[in-house]
Amino acid sequence: MKKLINSPGSVVDDALVGLAAAHPALAVDFERRVVSRAVCPAGPKVALVSGGGSGHEPLHIGFVGPGMLDAACPGELFTSPPPDRILAAAQAADSGAGVLFVVKNYTGDVLNFRLAAELAAEQGHRVATVLVDDDVAVRDSAAGRRGTGATVVVHKTCGALAERGAALEEVRELGERVVAASRSFAVALAAGTNPETGRPGFDLAEDEIEVGVGIHGEPGRRRERLRPANELAATVVDAVLEGNRPGPGDRPIVLVNGLGATPLIELYVVCAAVTARLAEHGVTPARTLVGSYVTSLDAAGFSLTLTAADRLMLELWDAPADTPALVRA
């Protein structure tokens, strides 16, 4: 294991120190591991709070700022934060118009955010939750589909709507519509290595890939031979469109996302391949975002997220944002 770290146990805390150093617009509570905006919104607005295990950066800490999240609560690597940390984030974020929890659908996140919501309600916060479950690689699990790339679309669109002064229920409802319109699927060339264990989540041969992989080193649906980007893109596009073809009025938002160790030039190659395959399906993206936004430590590979956006979603996707990882002028 080769990593730029000091010790496995200090990665999250050290990274938060670096985040705070680079981004004076963020307030970082190191004790409770809460990242929030240094300058609070002028008046009350619905506060967006998200979090989950660390190791997926820039998700979520890199999306705190005007136009997106009000606070993020990063947990240990790949481990959702406990309820009191989530509660602390809600407290830091609530400006009087209620708090929306954006939760990726993993058992740990679901349970901890649920307990946190109860605690927050006891303290008088109004809390609503959007559960993100876009990863179609998962089938037949009573736990449901995992939450991955669509989280970014929810953060961006719900964040913009909240900034416009919409009410909690309205923002939650938008989030649910975005989730319903979103599908993701991922392929890994190499698993990430959790520094705590020092071992990759799974081992792949030099010519093997993991198809339908999760962002915590969860192995995927199946193992295959590495193929050219065009073929991989076809597999992934087809999986994402299966049973969820965007309708005629939809303006698809496409996210071509790197898993952490994927160079940008490869993501652009994938983007070309994805765009071509979508065209074969008659789907023309309205917007395409390329970069590493929802990562899995140093895993190599990519995920594709497609949101069959309506006009409002697209407008909110284009709205201003000013966060470490996503800025819109």
């Binding site: 959702s80 740990g108 901890n112 989540g201 999760g214």
Partner: protein, 214 residues
């Protein structure tokens, strides 16, 4: 000396034994979780029990007022420190069990408390027996404890029976296909591996039996 009831001293002995067992088993639990999860179950529980030991070392003024109070502290500490899936599940289980536990619980009362813990896990996580989760260790343990209590077994024997049943339950998760938690994403590929959570649940019950036998 064998304990006849689960008093505060035994509760503390149990938890300290459990903490040591978790420490010893950390790598094993993490290895199980690497196979079908995300490779952190061992470190999650170690982090939790390290905090639990700190809480036991700084008891409330005058000590814990009851074994239930002690277990409730264990539960809220686990909930507050572990995160992940197992944190709230074990945390709420200990809190629910602690709330149910009378001051000097005999085996039957212990069975009721464990049943309350199990109920909390199922209420929170929604798992059914056979879903390849810690329910698969806890549920047979409740049954075994209750059955032993009905035959008038000592606490030591009854908890040993519960630990045996939990271990069997954990072992029996191996062929199962997971339907809850992270392992469920693997679908059929989740079979052939023992569930980490069921394994740690059995370990906690074995720690109780060991403490009760001392």
């Amino acid at each position: 000396m064998t304990h006849r009831t689960l008093d505060t001293a035994l509760a503390e002995a149990w938890i300290r034994t459990a903490a040591a067992a978790v420490e010893d088993a950390e790598r094993h639990l993490t290895a199980l979780d690497t196979a079908i999860g995300d490779g952190d179950h061992g470190s999650n529980l170690r982090r939790g029990f390290t905090a639990v030991l700190a809480a036991l070392d700084a008891p409330p003024e005058g000590g814990f007022e009851s074994p239930g109070a002690l277990l409730r502290t264990v539960g809220s500490t686990l909930t507050a420190k572990v995160g992940g899936a197992s944190g709230p599940l074990y945390g709420q289980a200990f809190r629910a069990a602690g709330a149910e536990l009378p001051p000097d619980a005999d085996p039957a009362a212990c069975a009721d408390a464990l049943a309350a813990g199990l109920a909390a896990v199922r209420a929170l996580g929604g798992a059914e027996p056979g879903d390849k989760t810690l329910v698969d260790a806890l549920a047979p343990a409740v049954d075994a404890l209750r059955a032993a209590a009905e035959t008038g077994a000592t606490l030591a024997r009854a908890t040993a029976a519960a630990a045996d049943a939990a271990e069997r339950g954990a072992r029996d998760t191996t062929p199962l296909q997971a339907r809850r938690g992270r392992a469920s994403y693997l679908g059929p590929r989740s079979t052939g591996h023992q569930d980490p959570g069921a394994t740690s649940a059995a370990l906690l019950l074995r720690a109780l039996a060991d403490a009760a036998a001392r």
